[in-house]
Amino acid sequence: MHYDVLIIGAGMSGLAAGIRLAYYGKRVRIVEKHYRVGGLNSFYSLGGYKLDVGLHAMTNYVPKGVKLSPLPKLLRQLKLKAEDFGLCPQRMSVIKFPDTSLRFNNDFDFFVQEVVDNFPRQADNFQKLLKTIFEYDELNLHAKPISAREVVSSIISDPLLSNMIFCPLMFYGNAQENDMEFGQFVIMFKSIFCEGFARPQAGVRQILDVLVKKYKACGGELKMRCAVTSLKCANSRVESILLENGEVLTADRILSSAGYVETMKLLTDYDSSKFNSHAGQLSFVEFILVLNKEPAEMGYETTIVFYNNSDIFDYRRPDGLVDVSSGVICCPNNFQFEGPLPEGMIRITNLANFDLWNRLGEEEYKAQKAAWLETTLKKVVKFIPDFRDSIVFTDIFTPKTIHKFTGRINGAVYGTPNKIKTGRTHLDNLFICGTDQGFLGIVGAILSGISMANLHVLQKG
């Protein structure tokens, strides 16, 4: 079977690329090895509850009518309406360090005022930082990478403020330990602070349903449980694609959202020494707690807490299984929904070490999950009302779980620290989209799929 384009992976970027290509008449097939779409932003059901992976909140929320920001851009590109995603804005989020808190909502001026109130001596410097951010062209695919830590510390002279700004930006989309590429910093800063958080009432399912329906309506083919075994190369091209079910396909071009190293590993002439250093190291453990009441009934109205137990924010792969000294506490109920969600829920995310989790035997793995749940709960009830008596169901996923369902090396949810911004590989017809191309988060992943489909397929005729 021959296709104009074969897309590997039915996550946000693969589906978005698929919609663009199918809409403009390309013969497209998406192959997905899991039985479910979504990739790093997927969902599952357990214990009668509908649970999300990945999505705490969608970033880049802007009210209807704003035209030139990423969210409306992607809606236009996918021929979707703002209502299709059913996004409901957050209530209030907060960055909590030992003696200082910075609140933010979807009104950027509110955040600026919080910074000024808490760091009056940095008020001018913060304005300078904003000027630097707004003048930077973060979408230039050929920009030289520069260190965000260096840029920010050269402007903001109080390291506490600098660390507090970095905390949510790193947790929500940074593949690099302790530093961030400045372009990535600008993207994340705008998407979280200038724009903001929102969530569809039905969670990530709603986004994925809309994308799958649109893709199929445009005539795209989607094959589930259909893993790629290998990509056969010759003459600087991928000549054919062998699937796990034995089928052999050919395609003019291949867009892979499987990850850069993960994709290189599929090549028949794969040379591991060339690519292994690209593998990402950062992964997370997530504790999902279902409650017998809405958190608001306990007086808890905050949407997301980014906490850190010291003035220095240390964002790196922990030496132990989990690092509870910093984390993210998300309450999916605390968005401005039309009606209440079916149950109360709290999700806690902490940095975790893939190798250590992966090494555990089955019994020990279970025991460690239970033990770390207790540890993290003890920690987080310092930041939010003690909800431990209200927990009726718990599920925990680890870097090992992420690796199992997404195929990501090290369960690295933000992929490689060395982004392939142009999407190009050493093969003429193989391109990378999604997390490893460089745009992160759900909106970023969708934009990545769109821009790679535009750049490498549609513009080429």
Partner: protein, 83 residues
Amino acid sequence: MTKEQIKDTILEIIAQIIPDEDLSNLKGDIPIREQVELDSMDFLDIIMELRKRYGIEVPEDDYIQLATLDSSVAYLEPRMREL
């Protein structure tokens, strides 16, 4: 298609891509992107729509020819005359 019909077609395509913009005062000799909020991704969709609807191929190097409404009509006229 006549020149007038080609112009209307382009305007109709732009209206479909950015439905909230007022196109009634669009000047023919000034770049379209200076007059309405149309980014490079939207601009690509004008070219994609021309291909989808009429099978017209505009090579990447010729995108510049579609900068203004007048230059678009001039560029497309030989390609759309027979439609």
